[in-house]
């Protein structure tokens, strides 16, 4: 046991598509931006109790940050940590701008139906999320502010937002080391503030492997995260082992 960095599975998710699955604690999910400028809109739910879900405000407040990067934890609304960001070659991930929806995609890029375009039709983030959520008995009521991995949005003094195009390069990746058994729901549709005038969402490559002990300590630099991990480990008591 305790073998590290053992590859478990991998799978490419083409741009505009959607995916969901359970990531067990002790597993790291690597999201890789295959060709640059991808966006991975992601929500997390407790696999056992799906009322517990990713909480943007608690995540930002606990770590006094507006953006997410290596060393940050992704919090649930119950004071627990779904996962820690244990590696990041991008440096900035957005968690306040939400999902693209049908209206936005049609206004920016036009209408493409499956009838004419087959799987090249333009898809949007909200519908992708809703389809995946539906597979787990969840729906519109469970959509909260999500993380947009690979996308950078900054704010000036007045709070005005700027989307930074060309932020994520081909081959960039971010590692999420899970501390809870987590339902991960994701869409690779464009970021809602993407300034690209053509519909070109990038492929996101998923790779799961066992978490290394070095990676496991990555988010412990922040005192709040030690308490978040305390709450999380209380949810999973050791069976037969000493604390």
């Amino acid at each position: 046991m305790n073998q590290e960095n053992i590859s478990l599975w991998e799978e490419p998710i083409p741009g505009g598509c959607h995916w969901s699955g359970i990531l067990r604690r002790g597993i790291t999910l690597r999201l890789a931006d295959v060709s640059g400028n991808a966006n991975a809109a992601v929500l997390f739910f407790n696999q056992e109790e799906k009322l517990e879900r990713y909480n943007m405000a608690d995540t930002l407040k606990a770590q006094h940050t507006f953006h997410l990067t290596r060393g940050h934890a992704c919090y649930s609304d119950m004071g627990r940590i779904f996962c820690c960001i244990t590696a990041d070659t991008v440096g900035w991930h957005d968690t306040v701008c939400g999902l693209s929806d049908r209206t936005l995609i049609q206004q920016k890029y036009g209408i493409t139906r499956y009838q004419e375009h087959r799987n090249q039709m333009y898809r949007n983030g909200l519908d992708g999320m809703l389809i995946e959520l539906g597979k787990w008995g969840l729906g519109m009521r469970d959509i909260v502010a999500n993380i947009n991995f690979f996308s950078k949005v900054t704010a000036n003094d007045a709070g005005e937002l700027t989307f930074h195009r060309n932020h994520s390069k081909a081959g960039s990746y971010v590692d999420l080391s899970f501390e809870m058994d987590t339902l991960v729901v994701l869409s690779t549709a464009p970021h809602p503030l993407d300034t690209n005038t053509t519909y070109q969402p990038g492929t996101v490559h998923l790779a799961a492997f066992t978490t290394s002990s070095a990676a496991a300590s990555e988010c412990k630099q922040i005192a709040e995260n030690l308490r978040g991990l305390h709450n999380t480990h209380r949810f999973y008591p050791p069976c037969g082992g000493a604390l």
Binding site: K61, H64, G79, M140, A145, A155, G159, E224, N231
Partner: protein
């Protein structure tokens, strides 16, 4: 850099159809009809008013932080801001504001987040989440909409100042509100208002002293 849009209201409190005080640390629930004007007054200053809005006919539609931020391409709320729903509809428009900036990132305190932010021992303290859940359990208006914890998204914090730096940090600074400052908004649809008048005792932004607020509703803006 002064970016605040300070606009005073012409409405007379004597003409309000609802004029109530919500004590520190308590929830408040009301339905505000389309076209009615809703005012929140920070009676003693620097009180965070954690507020959610729901479509009064079906709670699936509700205030959405992401849709609101995206629609105005701006983090902070003030006069002219449109509060958007998860369906992309405008729920309310801020029509007057003597404070100048309101937060939509900081969310509500909870027993669980208090353990993370402050200390594990803070769990028994009163919190906004407790207020929201108390209201869902007791208010018939919430019961009619079959609302549960599942329907509690990220909220607005009226009168709170949570600036974001360009390098991506989040700061909690002293409030910019003061006694008597208010924010006023027109309902663009029938909305259920769910407030927790924040009981947070650990955050210096309210000087560790939660205080009451006043809530008023006018029939129309043409009083």
């Amino acid at each position: 850099m002064n970016t605040f849009q300070l606009i005073e209201s012409q409405l007379n409190p004597d003409a309000a159809i609802i004029d109530e005080i919500c004590a520190a640390g308590e929830p408040w629930v009301k339905i505000v009809k389309q076209g009615q004007i809703f005012r929140i007054v920070d009676l003693e200053g620097n009180q965070a008013v954690d507020t959610l809005f729901f479509n009064a006919n079906h709670a699936w539609e509700r205030y959405s932080v992401a849709d609101t931020i995206r629609a105005q391409n701006k983090l902070y709320l003030t006069t002219g801001s449109k509060l958007c729903s998860n369906f992309g509809n405008v729920m309310l428009t801020i029509t007057a504001d003597t404070c100048g900036r309101h937060d939509t990132l900081g969310g509500a305190c909870s027993a669980e987040s208090n353990t993370v932010r402050y200390a594990l021992e803070k769990y028994p303290m009163h919190s906004c989440r407790d207020n929201f859940l108390h209201a869902l359990a007791h208010e018939t208006a919430c019961g009619h909409l079959d609302m549960s914890k599942r329907d509690i998204p990220s909220n607005i914090n009226f009168f709170m100042n949570v600036p974001v730096t360009e390098d991506g940090r989040l700061e909690f600074v002293d409030g910019i509100s003061a006694p008597g400052k208010y924010v006023e908004m027109r309902a663009e649809m029938d909305v259920l208002v769910l407030i927790s008048n924040c009981p947070q005792l650990n955050n210096p932004c309210n000087a560790y002293n939660p205080t009451p607020i006043r809530l008023l509703v006018w029939e129309t803006s043409a009083s």
